[in-house]
């Protein structure tokens, strides 16, 4: 029997498991202050961009190292929460 089609739900970037590739669905720019939002834009965060959490900080799994496009950036968990992503099917 074929598995029924299950739509993959969007989730926060902070909830994504290490090594899960995903695509950015939306970013809640309003929840960030201007400097933080600017930095995220500078890092290339944008709708449709490929992201992947790579490493977690050793204490409290914070901050998170994330691959964005071709670069790796580190942001704190609370900022990652502002980024909604859709995991890609492996």
């Amino acid at each position: 029997m074929n598995a029924p089609f299950v739509p993959i739900a969007a989730t926060g970037l902070d909830q994504l498991l290490v090594g899960t590739k995903a695509r950015v669905l939306s970013i809640a720019w309003d929840s960030l202050d201007e400097a933080e939002a600017n930095r995220l834009r500078h890092f290339g965060f944008d709708e449709g961009v490929a992201v992947e959490p790579l490493h977690l900080g050793p204490f409290g799994r914070d901050p998170i190292a994330i691959r964005v496009g071709r670069m790796i950036v580190a942001i704190r968990r609370k900022h990652a929460r502002a980024v909604q992503v859709v995991p890609l099917q492996q």
Partner: protein, 615 residues
């Protein structure tokens, strides 16, 4: 005379911009400051093929023309011709990381829109190949409409070609380039991604080196262990390797003093040169080996890309005190000496995070406190064994370090909720690819930082030691009088004594506090001098310093003295470097004020607790 053509080197952080700048200008660099801000201006000269000189200026790395830090604001203002003390550039070299075009082309596109004659340096082309990326520079040139030169700055490749392109550009009459209306950041970013995709000829998936290394170095368990090991090696080096050169310098200073003593007639001028200038400056340059080794490690950690990893690992812990992970290395460096530590805070983007780090850095127990701690502990703390190999003296020493660290974290916590409230961009950093920096770049950075240290600390130290010497030597004591009592310093010490008596300090300590401002360990020799010069009876003179202390200081006084040195801002160099790094007297004065209050309270608390306990 018309000024030389000015060429600005700009680019995103981690594009290898400074390495390219070093490759273009060699060692002929000038490091200054932009007026009104604490942003360094690096400039140098490049001679073109036809012999024409041009001036190159290395702008701070920026992600876009919307500044997020004072450094990025300078970059924007220079490029727009709005920076005071800088003329508008005649041409631009934009450095981009070949393996991160998606991101770096955004800033490049924004800069091309400004309409300056522009060349793109497609840098670190070797690392892109290592990552399995093959790029078409000609295609990139078509898309961007400006010349693109492939370079590997750390290996000095493509530099001649870049110079040639610059020559062509500056020789050609300016035409065809017009300033365009600035585009929105998001639109530029999307355009950057399109161009980057178009320029990729082939991409072979490979296991990237950086990823493999990070799997170990950022591992939740091994990461912190490796960090601790690296820090251990660094400190081992700072203290062990510096021992021999330190003793050479000490011997050299002593020899110089002896020569000057022998060659000059006794009197005030001889005393000024020997006891003032030579001894005072000597006390500071004995720290030079340690500072050199420390800077070497800091530059290596920065150059390889490990520095931000260390910040990543420590961020959560530092965050608890209101600091960011980036404060970790500067604060750790301050265990050797606060001066390089405070200079290393330049890597902290957020101005308030940086200021907090600067203000608490002097609380980390620097190596100049060790001679004071060692002397007092040897004199007053019995060498009893508590358990196994742990002795009471060691525990007290550890306790002093612990008090310093706790004090620093608490001070940071309070500052972040008080005078330095708000701000704090959190922790958002790029983790650059690992690479081995060229030795030339490290040496060049080392020379520049040491020059800054010697210039700033050196001149202020020379000035203050001469003032301190004058205070201690004028007026000259007559027969039967004690120099330390009759001099201006003696009278000041009487004033100090009135203030510090309530916290248990005696006259000897009051006399030592003033000269210890030159460098903390001078307190030891100052106390020794008081006993050797002043004591009338030979018995006291011939006793070792430790014995003299035991005779003259009660235990609560000694403990209060230790507590004082944990917190007191007893170091002119630190104050001088804080003034330089904060660009004014406001914050160094604040720092001195709060640290003295802290030291006074800690010493008083220690003294009275000890007295009440009947120690």
């Amino acid at each position: 005379m018309t000024p030389l053509p000015l060429v600005a080197v700009a680019g995103s952080p981690n594009a290898g911009k400074s390495a390219l700048f070093n490759a273009l200008t060699g060692a002929r660099q000038k490091v200054g400051n932009y007026p009104g801000v604490t942003v360094e201006r690096h400039s140098g000269r490049l001679t073109l093929a036809d012999g024409r000189p041009v001036e190159l200026v290395d702008l701070p790395g920026a992600y876009s023309l919307d500044p997020a830090s004072p450094d990025e604001a300078v970059t924007r203002d220079v490029l727009l011709g709005r920076q005071t003390g800088e003329r508008k550039p005649d041409a631009l070299i934009i450095v981009v990381d070949a393996s991160n075009l998606d991101n770096h082309l955004r800033f490049a596109l924004q800069l091309i829109e400004l309409g300056h004659p522009t060349i793109i340096a497609l840098n670190m082309i070797d690392l892109a190949k290592r990552d399995g990326l093959e790029l078409d520079a000609k295609r990139l040139e078509q898309e961007l409409g400006v010349p693109v030169i492939e370079t590997i700055a750390v290996r000095r490749r493509g530099i001649t070609e870049l110079g040639q392109a610059l020559d062509d550009m500056l020789s050609a009459p300016r035409c065809g380039l017009h300033e365009r209306a600035p585009s929105e950041l998001v639109r530029l970013q999307r355009r950057a991604r399109e161009i980057a995709t178009a320029a990729v000829v082939r991409e072979t998936p490979v296991r990237r080196w950086t990823h493999r290394l990070d799997a170990v170095l950022l591992h939740p368990v091994f990461g912190p262990i490796i960090l601790a090991a690296i820090m251990f090696v660094m400190f081992q080096a700072v203290f062990a390797w510096s021992e021999a050169p330190k003793s050479w310098i000490e011997n050299g200073v002593a020899w110089l003093g002896a020569q000057a003593s022998a060659g000059l007639p006794p009197g005030l001028p001889r005393s000024l040169i020997v006891d003032g200038a030579i001894a005072g400056v000597g006390a500071v340059i004995t720290f030079l080996p340690q500072i050199l080794i420390l800077f070497f490690f800091i530059l290596l950690l920065e150059g390889t890309g490990y520095m931000v990893r260390a910040a990543f690992l420590m961020d959560k812990l530092m965050h608890g005190a209101g600091l960011s992970g980036r404060a970790f290395i500067p604060l750790l460096s301050s265990f050797a000496c606060a001066v390089p530590g405070i200079m290393a805070t330049r890597t902290i983007d957020d101005p308030k995070d940086r200021l907090t780090t600067i203000l608490v850095a002097p609380l980390m127990t620097c190596s100049a406190r060790l001679p004071v701690y060692t002397l007092i502990i040897a004199a007053f703390i019995p060498n009893t064994r508590l358990f196994f190999a742990v002795g009471l003296q060691g525990v007290v020493m550890f306790g002093l370090y612990f008090c310093g660290i706790t004090g620093a974290l608490l001070a940071a916590y309070v500052l972040r909720r008080g005078v330095l409230k708000g701000g704090g961009g959190g922790f958002m950093m790029e983790l650059p690819k690992y690479q081995w920096p060229s030795l030339k770049d490290v040496v060049l950075g080392l020379i520049q930082r040491v020059q800054i240290f010697l210039k700033r600390a050196g001149t202020i130290i020379l000035g203050t030691t001469i003032i301190l010497w004058a205070l201690a030597s004028i007026p000259q004591a007559g027969p039967g009088q004690k120099q330390s009592e009759i001099s201006i310093a003696g009278h000041i010490a009487n004033g100090i004594e009135a203030v510090v008596k309530p916290i248990g300090f005696n006259h000897d300590i009051s006399l030592a506090l003033l000269p210890a401002m030159a460098a903390r360990e001078v307190a030891v020799s100052a106390i020794a001098t008081v006993y050797s010069i002043d004591s009338g009876d030979d018995a006291a003179r011939n006793r070792p310093l430790v014995e003299n202390l035991r005779h003259r200081w009660p235990l609560p006084t000694a403990l209060a003295f230790l507590a004082w040195f944990v917190f007191a801002p007893q170091c002119i160099s630190t104050i001088a470097v804080t003034r330089r790094e904060t660009n004014g007297w406001k914050w160094p004065l604040f720092m001195v004020g709060y640290l003295f209050v802290l030291a006074y309270c800690a010493a008083g608390l220690t003294y009275w607790t000890a007295v009440l306990l009947g120690l």
